[in-house]
């Protein structure tokens, strides 16, 4: 139990950080650069923690802490195999407070970033809920512990919902063409949307919270392949690779495009998959 908790709270974000590091390396190679070392995200975070601790106001600080706490808790709940829908709801607390923190600053950059982040949330949340619904229809339970009693992988019955994961990951990781509220890597951006006014240790905390979120999604993606855990991990990492490719061949698009895309394509894929499941049973 204690080992599990430690793994969830410390091991998982480290994995998230490594994935982000690998992402930066691969992206660099795709762009013909050498790229930073694999551990660069950790160096960045450590450097940020050593900076002077300043915030614009107290609500920003509170928001950062709530964001980190709820993201960590959602990963912990996944490791402890509780209710998937609950996990997603807990994650949404943090996502909401990231927006609240940005909105508490009266800078137009933070404000616009916050509005766009809300639209990112609006785009991926229903899809994420529908994925849990699909898993429920296959396994008869929302609990990860029950889902993990399966002997055949769910991907066989939920292939389209796995494709929906690509959209969700793209939006949640803020990869092109969904890097609307901010972009995953700072790229060449001067002002970084919803994250503009988070600085120093507080920015580091949002980064760690992001690692938690990333591993949570990778964990859910891996669930599709359970009990073939190795395949699950490989496919989850494959998803990241796909995101990197898409990121590098597309450009940032608009909020309205993202909303209509995730609702048309994402919801349609989910509907077809869930519809088939429903009629087969």
């Amino acid at each position: 139990m204690i080992l599990k908790i430690l793994f969830a709270l410390i091991g998982m974000p480290v994995i998230g950080g490594l994935v982000v590091g690998a992402d930066r390396k691969v992206t660099a190679r795709l762009q013909g650069r050498y790229g930073p070392p694999l551990l660069q995200p950790f160096y960045d975070v450590i450097k940020l923690f050593l900076k002077e601790r300043m915030s614009v106001n107290e609500f920003q600080v509170l928001s950062v802490f709530i964001y980190l706490a709820s993201s960590a808790l959602s990963v912990l709940l996944l490791v402890l195999r509780s209710d998937l829908l609950m996990i997603i709801f807990v994650m949404s607390i943090g996502a909401a407070f990231l927006v609240v923190g940005a909105m508490s600053v009266r800078s137009p950059y933070s404000q616009v970033g916050a509005q766009r982040e809300l639209m990112q949330m609006l785009s991926y949340e229903p899809l994420l809920i529908l994925i849990t619904v699909g898993m429920y229809l296959v396994t008869g339970s929302f609990k990860v512990s029950k889902i993990m009693m399966r002997t055949t992988p769910m991907i066989a019955e939920l292939p389209l919902l796995f494709l929906v994961m690509i959209i969700i990951m793209g939006i949640k990781m803020r990869k092109s063409p969904f890097d609307i509220s901010a972009s995953e890597h700072a790229h060449q951006e001067i002002v970084r949307g919803v994250l503009t006014d988070y600085s120093g240790p507080y920015l580091a905390m949002t980064e760690i919270a992001h690692w938690y979120d990333l591993t949570l999604l990778l964990g859910i993606a891996a669930l599709f392949f359970y009990p073939y855990t190795v395949w699950g991990v490989v496919s989850a990492l494959g998803l990241v690779l796909i995101e990197i490719l898409i990121d590098n061949v597309t450009a940032r698009l608009t909020v309205k495009w993202m909303l209509s895309y995730s609702y048309m394509v994402g919801v349609l894929l989910a509907a077809v998959n869930i519809g088939i499941l429903y009629f087969i049973r």
């Binding site: 614009v56 960590a72 609950m86 807990v90 509005q115």
Partner: protein, 638 residues
């Protein structure tokens, strides 16, 4: 028991009459406060006593049924008088269609309308009674402070407060009676009393807009009234009784479902479901305590109460399926409309409509756990929504606007009210608070119904958007540490705000207790199995479980961490805001269109005015809703 019931029902009505006749402010305040304390006390005693069924003795030599019948006729004639005096033909027709059939039915058809246990309380009634008696009375107290300010603002002289208080007092008495009655005829009478009260209250200010909204409310609710009368008559001929408990026990099938469908239609009008939702939007012209009452503990809750009450009678039928889709549709459509609004009261109104839709939907899902979720949502929504309305009213008096864009940084101008509003918003928006927990439960039980689950998934994502950005706006503060103002608020306003916000948090913490003691018995009485239990801070259902303590713990840790981080941080930073060079240019290109550079940058939320315009969307939404209602009746005939 008789005595507690007397206090719960008749005391507010008697106080109302006294308040109306004697226009003394001190006496009025005393009576209101006394009634508040007594009514709250009576509801606790009634709850403590538990379920009961009671037959009323005769009053003198006249049976109570007869008294209600006479009062009912008088009420109908009064509404007819109103509709004739405002020369509204539709309204006249709708009123006549209620008064005459009911009169003929009661007096000339020789129908035996006796109901053996006229006052009946199960756990559902007890829950309703507690909500009404606590939330409703706290709104009375708020009104004492608010109406004084309000009349000064609007320069109303001579004071019309006696009329206002009389109606809101009677309103609560009638609501309590409505949820405790077991005869359709009685329920109809109190139903009509609440309709008339809301008409009088919405029109209270006497402006053109107020009158128009009041008439619209009366008109739309009269459609429900006609449906109700039709339900009474068909129920008598199809099922053979107007006793609600016997109707439920008879498990009607086929055409016998018609009265139930009619009652559901009446409930849709009362709960302001699309296409009848316009009256609730118009109702916000009334003074704030009225909106708070209509949206939380009274009026709209009567509709959903009736549906939850009747749900066991059509459990698992095709009609239930259609109604659950209808509710889900209202949930998602009203949430969508709320995104397009910047008017705080309108956002709250659309949010009420959508939440009521979800309650109706949940009550009709063929799973007892969903019914429990519906009751749960009704409780939590009542408390948080009453709180939010009272907050918006207080804010409006403070800053002269109810637009959320004007509430930017309200935490600096009205720290107390803003903090309370934040509590209200958080309890509506986030887990582990009750509203979200109920939504979680609805989603898990709706998962078997593919159409419904899509609507609920999208609807809840929309809800997050419009509440989160409101929360963010309130909490905006610049690094300049502008003088944080001290807020002067009357004790009458402060007390209900504090009580309700504490209650909103407390009942969420105690949710497993409330679930086990109140909600589970309310459901198991009518449904044999219920796969739901609260244990050790965890709500366990058949398909999943939600543990509350980890979430509360994480939030508390975040608060503590934030507190210490703030205490030791080196100072406050300036927000990033360049743009000095902008003044060198005359025009700016936004979305491909050239525009003059504004003097001051203006930031607003996304409202998607071009897509989410009320005028453009509403007709389509209405069309779909009407089609769904037609289906409700259609499936009975199949």
């Amino acid at each position: 028991m008789q005595f507690e019931l007397f206090i719960a029902i008749l005391l507010p009505i008697i106080s109302g009459i006294i308040v109306y006749v004697i226009k003394n402010e001190k006496l009025r305040n005393f009576l209101v406060i006394m009634s508040t304390v007594l009514v709250m006390l009576s509801s606790v005693l009634i709850l403590h006593h538990g379920n009961f069924a009671l037959d009323m003795e005769e009053l003198g030599s006249i049976p109570w049924d007869r008294i209600i019948e006479i009062l009912d006729l008088a009420l109908g004639l009064y509404v007819l008088y109103i509709s004739i005096s405002i020369k509204n033909v539709t309204l006249i027709l709708l009123t006549v269609a209620q008064v005459i059939p009911l009169f003929i039915f009661e007096d000339f058809m020789g129908a035996n309308l006796e109901v053996s246990e006229i006052l009946y309380a199960d756990h559902l009634s007890l829950i309703m009674n507690i909500i009404i008696s606590f939330v409703g009375t706290l709104i009375w107290i708020f009104a004492i402070g608010y109406m004084k300010d309000d009349e000064q603002h609007k320069k109303i002289f001579p004071s019309r407060q006696n009329r206002f208080f009389a109606i809101i007092l009677i309103f609560i008495g009638a609501m309590n009676a409505l949820v405790l009655s077991n005869s359709l005829i009685w329920v109809y009478f109190f139903w009509e009393v609440t309709t008339l009260s809301s008409y009088l209250l919405i029109g209270h200010d006497g402006t053109e807009e107020a009158k128009e909204s009041a008439v619209r409310a009366l008109l739309l609710n009269s459609i429900g009234g006609v449906a109700f009368v039709a339900a009474i008559i068909t129920s008598y001929y199809q099922i053979g009784t107007v006793d609600i408990q016997r109707i439920i026990a008879s498990k009607p099938e086929g055409l016998a479902l018609l009265p139930i469908a009619l009652l559901c239609l009446a409930a849709f009008t009362k709960s302001a479901q699309i296409p009848f939702h316009k009256w609730l939007l118009g109702a916000m012209v009334a003074p704030t305590p009225v909106s708070a009452l209509l949206h939380s503990s009274t009026m709209v809750k009567a509709g959903v109460y009736l549906i939850i009450r009747l749900a066991p009678s059509f459990y698992g039928t095709r009609m239930a399926y259609v109604i659950s889709i209808f509710g889900g549709f209202t949930f998602v459509a009203a949430s969508l409309m709320a995104i397009g609004q910047s008017n705080g009261k309108k956002i709250l109104a659309y949010s009420t409509i959508s939440n009521l839709g979800l309650i109706i939907s949940a009550a009709c899902i063929d799973n007892p756990t969903a019914v429990a979720a519906a009751i749960m949502l009704m409780i939590f929504h009542a408390v948080s929504k009453a709180l939010l309305f009272l907050c918006v009213g207080t804010i409006e008096h403070g800053i002269g606007s109810r637009d959320i864009e004007d509430m930017r940084g309200l935490i600096n101008r009205m720290p107390f009210t803003a903090t309370i509003t934040v509590v209200g918003l958080v309890t509506m928006l986030l887990p582990p608070f009750g509203v979200l927990l109920s939504k979680w439960l609805v989603l898990e039980t709706a998962a078997k119904n593919p159409v419904l689950v899509f609507m609920i998934a999208i609807g809840s994502a929309l809800t997050v958007v419009y509440y989160t950005r409101w929360l963010g706006l309130l909490l905006s503060r610049s690094s300049a540490r502008e003088d944080i103002k001290h807020e002067e608020i009357s004790v009458y306003i402060k007390t209900p705000l504090i009580t309700l916000s504490v209650a909103a948090v407390t009942i969420s913490v105690l949710i497993t207790f409330i679930l086990n003691k109140l909600i589970v018995p309310a459901v198991t009485q009518y449904y044999s199995v219920l796969g739901l239990i609260g244990m050790e801070g965890t709500i366990k259902g058949t398909y999943g479980a939600f543990s509350l303590w980890p979430v509360f713990l994480a939030l508390i840790l975040a608060f503590i961490g934030g507190y210490f981080a703030l205490k030791s941080q080196s100072g406050y930073a300036q927000p990033y805001m360049p743009g000095e060079t902008a003044k060198d240019y005359k025009v700016i290109k936004i979305n491909g269109k050239e525009d003059a550079i504004p003097e001051k940058p203006k930031i607003r939320n996304y409202y998607f005015g071009d897509v989410l315009s009320e005028n453009k969307l509403t007709p389509w939404l209405k069309l779909i809703a009407i089609a769904l209602i037609a289906c409700t009746f259609g499936v009975i005939l199949l």
